[in-house]
Symmetry: C2
Amino acid sequence: MLIVRDLMVRGFRRFGDFEQSGEGIATNILADRLRRLQQAELVEAEPDPEDRRKVNYRLTEKGIGLAPVMLELLIWGARHENTGAPREVVEQMAANRDAVLAETRRRWVERDPRPILPWLGGPKR
Amino acid sequence: MLIVRDLMVRGFRRFGDFEQSGEGIATNILADRLRRLQQAELVEAEPDPEDRRKVNYRLTEKGIGLAPVMLELLIWGARHENTGAPREVVEQMAANRDAVLAETRRRWVERDPRPILPWLGGPKR
DNA sequence: ATTTTTACTTGCGAATTGCAAGTGAATAAT
DNA sequence: ATTATTCACTTGCAATTCGCAAGTAAAAAT
């Protein structure tokens, strides 16, 4: 789920992004999860045309379809726990769910890598 | 998550309900999960006043707050996989999210044990 | 007084995970 | 041209978690 979230709202694309993200996932598990997400057709992988060592991972239509679930989870978390998410920002998002989801999908369609949740940080590169 | 879902929409309340639910969860794991859900304040347990062997588990306010997440997950699952959920029914729910959530909360407040998702079945007793 | 029901706990082998150290191919640096 | 480095993994092993079967304790039913 963290992988899906990071692909969705943090602009992650590459294996190394997750390694250095502080999610604390071991590389063997990460490789396994990316494989399974591909089998489940939530994620697709393609080698970077400019550097064939690199692999770009991207959510599929099915994967981006999880956006409403992730958004509700974000809202719930911010309301009931101390996540790092600023309460007021999240309440703004809760009051404008459709706009947030439309923007999320827009960034997916246009391959816009800017993170939607700035407090999580983008890829370290 | 299945425990939370079953408490939320299947009218489950007791340990034995989960054991016989076909979720295929071992009793030691079930006990551990119920304990952790209590620690996380998603679930509370109280002994049945009429039969003190029995324990009634119930979602807390925080727990029922996950209803929007579960609903979005249900919708996503029905759209992208063959879950047992009838597509048309789920699309009706997707078109009336607020009403579904209001009814879910009403059943929680009033301790109404009738299952909201009939195709999952209620507790076997 | 004995049996049954209910909610667990215990013990153990099997599967999953975390950690550290590789591997191999592609690019970058010298 | 040769060597070094980057990148996406894989491998081996110990530690944790899990599934399964059996057991336990308290309360209720017989």
